[in-house]
């Protein structure tokens, strides 16, 4: 018979299953960051002058900024000159004309990750943009989407093909001066996805981007921009993985969402970057700025995130509720296992009248993981009738992990109604024994309890991905209690 500490110990150990590396010829620039780096990236992408100028302004601003150290996370200094800011699979000639011409090694990589891209095997109801290090290697179902006027593809391509749209909205939600990592991203962003849903169109399929970091010593700085015109609606999902390495890699992305009158954007993330090992060696630093603007009346933006990977997660998907009667939602499951640290939450900024927001955050801490919820609910002085409901729950597995909650509330209108609920619970040895005594294996018992804990969030994910998220969570906790 094993003791409590023992069983919990075994439970917390796990293997990362997406840690392989694809050996492929790349086009990589030397490490280091300067105006030349910015110019190089911009030239590589054949960008117009205005965008280069914008990048340079960001870079010059960044030089004057300090890295933030207020999050509840610990890590050594990051040497920004030691990072390679651009790496992409080498293109033959002019590059592939279609996905069928893409290097088979790349297609194989995505297949291994469960994202087949080529015609015969691709997922039917989902359009996928596949981003490999600094470049998008292709997007599925583009033509079908175009029939409805939906634009979906890499942002580099959008800059070339739809410069007016990109120029109008890029930086309109997250300005280049926003914060240290967002500003760095504005200077050196390489690729990401762009989606535009025209007026009144309900996007006929799920849109999704799969981000893969492959090359060593690089950072990934992707930029995603989604615009939903009046009455349009779209559901978008992003997934991400990286090889196992002993070094830390920086991933500093920016996502901007714009919803006009009555538009509806649902943005789901299943984040599974390499988390590092149990001793805290390696893993991705996931320092991300995500923000949505409910610009129009009756618009709605909903964030759902399942964060199981990364050594450190620092992100606060937020909604600016500017349009009257607009709605913001944030549903989150964040897991900190091994030596992972997560400082994540949301900001709901109520500016318009009768705006509503809901925040459901579930934090799971296991191993030596440290999980913090940090959230801000702000009600401006003109936001009459604003309402917020926040619930944050923490689940602890074992006795070496931690859960922290930092809720901030700022209200300047007396008609606002805010509710905040918080709970902390622990998967107890007695719960596991109770399940065992009914013939249920420990691993199944833990999964059952964890899934029960997360189900309010999982039900917000698109159906196909809810199953994936459940599986991912159980794999991430595999071997923790045995």
């Amino acid at each position: 018979m094993s003791s409590t500490a023992d069983t919990i110990d075994r439970f917390v150990r796990q293997e990362y299953k997406w840690g392989f590396y694809t050996d492929i010829e790349t086009d990589t620039i030397p490490a280091g960051l300067s105006e030349d780096t910015v110019r190089f990236i911009s030239a590589k992408k054949q960008e117009p002058e205005w965008l280069l100028e914008w990048r340079l302004k960001a870079y010059r601003h960044w030089l004057k900024m300090q890295e933030p150290h207020w999050p509840q996370v610990k890590y050594g200094p990051i040497d920004y000159q030691a990072i390679r800011y651009y790496s992409a699979p080498k293109k033959k000639g002019d590059g592939p004309k279609s996905l069928d011409e893409v290097d088979p090694k790349l297609l194989e990589t995505y297949e291994k990750l469960g994202i087949p891209l080529h015609e015969r095997a691709r997922l039917a109801g989902v359009a996928v943009d596949a981003v490999f290090d600094s470049e998008s290697i292709g997007t599925t179902h583009k033509e079908e989407l175009a029939k409805q006027g939906v634009i979906f593809g890499s942002i580099s391509e959008a800059v070339r093909e739809h410069p007016d749209l990109v120029r109008r909205y890029l930086g309109s939600v997250v300005p280049y001066t926003d914060n240290f990592f967002a500003t760095l991203n504005s200077a050196v962003f390489s690729d990401g996805s762009f989606a535009y849903i025209p007026k009144g169109v309900r996007c006929p399929m799920e849109l999704s981007t799969y981000f893969r970091i492959n090359a060593a010593g690089t950072g990934q700085f992707e930029r995603t921009l989604i615009v939903a015109e009046e009455g349009a609606s779209v559901s978008y999902l992003e997934g991400c993985t990286a090889p196992k390495r002993d070094e830390n890699q920086l991933h500093a992305a920016v996502v901007e969402l714009v919803a006009l009158d009555r538009a509806d954007i649902k943005y789901s993330t299943v984040q599974n970057w390499y988390p590092g090992d149990a001793e805290g060696r390696g893993g991705i630093y996931n320092f991300v700025t995500k923000r949505g603007l409910c610009k129009g009346a009756h618009s709605k933006i909903s964030w759902t995130q399942v964060e199981t990977g990364s050594a450190i997660t620092w992100k606060y998907p937020s909604v600016i509720l500017r349009g009257d009667h607009s709605v913001g939602e944030f549903y989150s499951v964040a897991l900190a296992n091994l030596a992972q640290q997560a400082d994540t939450g949301t900001k709901m900024v109520h500016l318009g009248r009768n705006t509503r927001s809901t925040v459901i955050a579930k934090g799971i801490s296991a191993g030596r993981g440290q999980n913090s919820y940090r959230g801000l609910v702000q009600v401006g002085k003109h936001a009459a009738g604003a309402r917020n409901f926040t619930q944050c729950d923490s689940l602890l597995i074992g006795d070496r992990c931690g859960a922290h909650t930092f809720p901030y509330i700022e209200v300047k209108n007396p008609t606002a109604r805010l509710e905040h609920e918080a709970t902390t619970s622990k998967i107890g040895e007695d719960q596991i024994f109770y399940c065992n005594a009914r013939g249920i294996e420990t691993q199944d018992a833990v999964n059952m309890i964890v899934n029960g804990f997360c189900k309010e969030v999982f039900k917000e994910l698109p159906m196909e991905f809810a199953m994936e998220a459940q599986k991912l969570l159980s794999v991430s906790l595999e071997g923790s209690v045995g």
């Binding site: 065992n436 005594a437 009914r438 013939g439 294996e441 029960g452």
Partner: protein, 252 residues
Amino acid sequence: MLEIKNLHAGVEGRQILKGIHLSIQPGEVHAVMGPNGSGKSTLAQLLAGRAGYTITAGEVLYEGQDLLDMDPEERARAGVFLAFQYPVEIPGVNTTYFLRTAVNAMRKHRGQAPLDAVKFLSLMREKIKLLELDESLLKRSVNEGFSGGEKKRAEILQMALLEPRLAVLDETDSGLDIDALKVVARGVNRLKTPQTAQLVITHYQRLLDHIIPDYVHVLHDGCIVKSGGKELALELEERGYDWIVKSPLQTA
């Protein structure tokens, strides 16, 4: 079916069981009675496989197998069931889902196909009537917010669903009013067959008015100090435990 031989066990260096001998055959109902702190619950938990106890001597054979060598879930699948004195709450986990997972774990072990949601529901409807439980409980989280009586009845519902060969009832009567006690006892009695056995652990005699034991054992300070037929329980009710505890048998 169950053979406990000279079982010595303790927790954190403190000796609790000091040489238990007990033999249970199929079809029999045994009652273990004793004052608080005599080791009754330790015996029940140990049979179900709870971690944290150190076994210093003796053995337990269940159908010829070394029970102490089996994991708790293996014991459950082999037909050993413990009705908990304090059923555990599992927030967020739906009761029906929990019960179906348990039943299917047992079925898998027996090489039977899993029951789908529809088949399981009709099985459960049939069993739930036996315990006079409200069906709305099944939609709630496992034991969460259940009254004391509901928890105990839900334990017997689980027993009815899992059909154990050896059921250990740990103070199933505690916290029950007389009506609930009768319902629970009726449920337990219906589950009695010539192939199954029951080990009823209780502090009070009143449960044994409704679950009639074939044998009664008195546990005191980690040893069975007296065994007898069902009339022993009545005698205990009348005279208390002191006369046995103080008799010379204690050291025998």
